[in-house]
Amino acid sequence: MRERLEKLTESFRSELADAPDLKSLEETRVKYLGKKGEFTAILKGLKDLPPEERPSAGVLINETRDFFESALEAAKTGLSRKQLDAAIELEKIDVTLPPKRRETGRLHPLSQIIREITGIFIGMGYEVAEGPEIELTRYNFDALNIPADHPARDSQDSFYTTDGHVLRTQTSPVQARTMEAKKPPIRIIAPGRVFRADEVDATHSPVFHQLEGLVVDKGVTMAHLKGTLSVFLKELFGEETKLRFRPHHFPFTEPSAEVDVSCFACGGKGCRVCKDSGFIEILGCGMVHPRVLSMRGIDPEVYTGFAFGLGLERIAMQRFGISDMRLLYENDVKFLSQF
């Protein structure tokens, strides 16, 4: 018996080693372990042995059979892996081929800037106010303390509709409308489209965008204005940005200031971009003129406020390195897809 099993094992081993694929492995399995296989025959032969040999022979047969089964299993795993490896080898692709994708669009650079600035101010407790683009001269000029003979009202500077309205020349009328509609405390910004009678060139457009800010409350000071704008401008241009508040004049604020930030190009050393001054003018601001408050029914003896306004095109142009403003309104997708 032992001899027979050893012989069997030998032939099984060589068949296993020679099996080229899973199919021949299966044939081997059937040949030895199948219903009509070798082991069935050997088991049948067990009864021919003398009874005292039978138990030890049975153990031996079972051990051999267990060995066959696990060897087959191992060979099967090995072969499967080989086959898979071969298949995988054939499935190799060039991963540097272009992607299949739906191209995503982008927000316009101006929208991106507006969104960024809006985010900064929302974080500081501001709401976003809106107003009409075709405006009453009352809101665009009178309410902002702009005298009747001020050159800004001139038709050389401002567009008028045939029914006497003005295409708002600044986002500031939103200030006036907000103060009329709301009681202090007021904290708003108002981004939007404005119009001036400028011919189109690399730095001018008759349609452009501004962002206005207004705070009215008890005890608001110029120190708060400085603090607010410093947080805003450092957030927008970087923590290392230096600010410069210069006295200036606007009819709707008193005191008024212009704010310069250290030059983006040279960091303040002086270069062609900043005309060697080291600074770039970025916004106008000031304490809301008492007359502007009282005209909207807010008592300037009780409340004070500050306001600021900035042009968004130049910020977008600076941020994205755009040197010609006309590109912003052409809508060439080759341009729009860059942002």
Binding site: T221, R246, E330, N331, V333
Partner: protein
């Protein structure tokens, strides 16, 4: 405003570098735009005396000179013919730099050594208009002997620094050298000495004997005149000429130069008339007559009207007030007496006159900003002082002065607490007083005395600004503003952002278009004559007819943008726009509507690509909308357009741009546009979301293929499916539409994959079959479509 620093320093001793001057002035409110240096590059050029002149051995047109240049005698070869021995000339020595940057080096000219160059006035950076004594072609020759070796930069006063200031509209007083000097004195805390305006009045007689002034137009606020006799007209001295040149004013003669000098110095325009040209010694300030003709100093005839103001005598106009004098009263060499005018006119009148005539002069641009009438007498005295100083004439006694309503200086109580509270600093009364006083606002006993040249100071806030700017804005301590409000976007703003983000995610690029456009846009878009869209807000003063109406529809802007992309040969293009349109409204502001617009073209792009983006947007906004075919939109392809509605409300349209419209925009291919009513989208948007339990039981799916008439829209079949699908119909997905050989003429096959599921139990085959049967029956009833055999 351009100010030579040397001139400013004459009135306030500000000793610092130009850079520091710039900074301090800028930070106190007088922004220096640029500075330029006159004669700055000229160096190494000295006065020299010509000792000898000899012929050049090898060249007919050259001479060899020996020049005493101070430290040495130089041999210099020159081609100039205007020299003689003993002349004093500018000598560029070896290593010198000329105005244009040219470096002079010793060398040989036709074999003869030349150790420098003799210079013309042009080579020193100027011209004969500034140095009229210079010859037309040749070497500049000093009119007087000079010490050899002394730099010509100082001899000819070539060097100066000129700062250009940005003057804000409230500070008309700063449009003058004296104004700048006052600001410099305030900024640096330096003393200020006003220009001397003492007049000797050596001529005898008094101005009032010669001249009376009759103001007939209230736009003339004051008219002062002095009479100058014994007039001697000649060129002005170099120092005066030089200052005019530095400010960009061409010197003419001493009298004219003085009037210009005073205008620059004090900001008060002046005019000199030939006294003989004023009939009857009577100056009348009156309205011009409509159609009155007048020849101005520049020789042009001007047609006047009654809105304008003239200076006249009883017979004729002699000047257009505040703008320009007349040919008929011009000061000429023979004038025996002149009348010096120093007047104040209302700014608006001068601005309108100057605009109407298209004639903007130095005087008009000063007047139109509004001047202080109290400056008139001082200015006329200063001019008389200078004329006497130059020996150009002698003043008669007194001023003829008509000043109907003298403007008194005003006072303002100083509210120290309010000033401190507005700025956010805490200065003492003394500190604030001192700051105001520095700004020429005398502050004593709690009262501010405002000089009349500071008409801009009316309120505490104005005083606060004066104190703050001289204290230094940069020194004001920043502090955080206490936020008493919650920052947020409104629902409308949030949805707007969501719309933009969704469209960008769908592959569309946001574009920005002008709000105004050409009225021809309506023709290009094929709107009929009576289309309501053609009723647009018109601009009274457009940049051109292409920008003359406010858009009533976003279609033109989008079509233009698509067109540009075609012209730029971009193969595909997907754009969206979120902006306003403007509809006129009777009595009141126009209605501004929010429009969301998509536009696209591309080789593989079709209607359904755009529909996909629109549906994605509607999905995100929680809007279940229907698409209904429309064929009556003028700008859209009649067979390829749909109206998008929700519960009877139109949300917009989607469609192919009408081929004719596309051709009008030179798009040259199929283009697709969807114009959505942004306001309606925001109104209908439903962003609330509720969780529905996930399915627990298996679904049964069935495919049905239907035979329908070609013209039946699948939306109708779909509606029929859902009408009878009951609760168990989970979805019906269209997976095939086919018309062709196997299908009868005028018919199409429409195949759906239906999913049926109950939320309570596993459906039986019988239940599913019954449901499908009901659905098929309804489809046939509603649309005539039958199950394909």
């Amino acid at each position: 405003m351009e100010a030579p620093i040397s001139w400013v320093r004459e009135y306030t001793p500000v000793a610092c570098s130009i850079k520091e001057f710039e900074d301090v002035m800028t930070m106190s409110g007088s922004k220096v735009e640029t500075t330029r240096v006159l004669g700055g590059s000229v160096s190494g050029v000295v006065a020299g005396k010509i000792l000898s002149i000899e012929k050049h051995p090898d060249a007919d047109k050259l001479v060899v000179t020996k020049v005493d240049a101070g430290s040495e005698t130089l041999q210099i070869v020159t081609g100039a013919a205007n020299l003689k021995v003993g002349d004093f000339v500018p000598v560029a020595t070896d290593g010198a730099t000329l105005a244009d940057g040219t470096k002079i080096k010793r060398g040989k000219l036709r074999g003869v050594e030349s150790n420098g160059m003799l210079c013309s006035i042009e080579e020193l950076g100027y011209s004969r208009s500034e140095y009229p004594e210079a010859p037309e072609n040749g070497i500049y020759v000093f009119t007087e002997p000079q010490e050899p070796g002394v730099s010509v930069v100082s001899l000819l006063e070539l060097y100066d620094e000129v700062a250009e200031f940005e003057i804000t509209s409230n500070r008309t007083d700063c449009n003058s050298i004296v104004g700048i000097a006052r600001e410099a004195a305030a900024a640096f805390g330096a003393p200020f000495t006003p220009p001397d305006a003492s007049v000797k009045e050596a001529a005898g007689g008094s101005a009032s004997e010669y001249i009376s002034i009759d103001i007939q137009n209230p736009d003339c606020l004051r008219y002062c005149a002095r009479v100058i006799k014994n007039v001697k007209i000649e060129p002005s001295p170099l120092w005066l000429r030089h200052r005019l040149i530095a400010c960009g004013v061409r010197p003419i003669n001493n009298i004219v130069d003085v009037t210009n000098y005073v205008m620059l110095e004090l900001g008060q325009p002046m005019h000199a008339f030939d006294a003989d040209g004023i009939a009857g010694g009577r100056v009348v300030v009156r309205r011009a007559r409509d159609g009155e003709k007048f020849i101005t100093l520049d020789g042009n005839e001007r047609a006047l009207d009654s809105s304008m103001m003239v200076i006249a005598d009883p017979e004729k106009a002699v000047a257009i007030a505040g703008v320009m004098g007349g040919e008929n009263s011009k000061v000429t060499a023979g004038a025996s007496a002149i009348l010096l005018e120093s007047a104040c006119f209302a700014g608006a009148n001068i601005r309108q006159t100057s605009k109407k005539l298209g004639l903007r002069t130095d005087a008009s641009s000063k007047y139109e900003k509004g001047l202080d009438p109290n400056l008139c007498d001082y200015a006329v005295n200063r001019a008389a002082h200078l004329i006497e100083l130059l020996g150009a004439g002698e003043a008669a006694a007194g001023i003829s002065d008509n000043y109907p309503e003298p403007k008194p200086p005003v006072t303002l109580p100083i509210e120290y607490d309010k000033i401190n509270a507005l700025i956010g600093f805490s200065l003492s009364r003394d500190e604030i007083d001192a700051l105001l006083t520095r700004a020429f606002i005398e502050a004593r006993g709690g009262v501010a005395h405002i000089p009349t040249f500071r008409a801009d100071i009316e309120l505490q806030a104005d005083l606060a600004e004066e104190a703050a700017r001289l204290y230094g804005y940069d020194k004001i301590e920043s502090s955080a503003s206490p936020a008493a409000t919650a920052g947020r976007l409104s629902r409308r703003q949030k949805i707007t952002e969501l719309i933009k983000d969704t469209l960008a995610a769908q592959g569309y690029f946001e574009c920005v278009t002008y709000s105004f456009e050409s009225p021809k846009a309506f023709d290009r878009l094929l709107f009929p004559e009576n289309a309501p869209e053609r009723r647009a807000v018109k601009i009274q003063n457009p940049l051109g007819s292409d920008y003359s109406v406010m858009r009533t529809t976003p279609l033109n802007g989008m079509a233009e943008s698509l067109s540009l992309n075609c012209a730029r040969r971009n193969k595909e293009c997907r754009l969206f726009n979120a902006a306003r349109t403007y509809a006129p409204r009777d009595g009141g502001l126009p209605e501004e509507k929010f429009a969301v617009t998509l536009g696209a073209y591309g080789e593989k792009f079709d209607f359904f690509d755009m529909k996909g983006a629109v549906c994605a947007l509607l999905d995100v906004l929680g809007i279940k909308a229907e698409f209904l075919a429309v064929s009556d939109l003028p700008y859209a392809h009649p067979g390829r357009a749909a109206k998008i509605t929700k519960d009877g409300v139109t949300l917009g349209f989607i469609g192919e741009l009408h081929p004719t419209a596309a051709a009008n925009y030179e798009i040259g291919r199929r283009a697709y546009i969807s114009a959505l009513d942004g306001d309606a989208l925001i109104e209908s948007a439903d962003l609330s979301r509720r969780h529905a339990p996930l399915p627990k039981f298996p679904a049964i799916t069935r495919d049905i293929a239907l035979l329908a008439r070609e013209e039946v829209p699948v939306a109708e079949i779909e509606r029929a499916i859902f009408e009878r699908g009951g609760k168990i119909l989970e979805s019906a997905e269209l997976f095939d539409v086919y018309s062709g050989n196997q299908i009868g003429q005028g018919c199409k096959s429409v195949a759906y994959n239906l999913t049926l599921r109950s939320s309570e139990r596993t459906l039986t085959e019988d239940e599913a079959a019954a449901a499908i049967a009901k659905i098929l029956k309804n489809i046939e009833e509603k649309t005539g479509a039958k199950l394909r055999e």
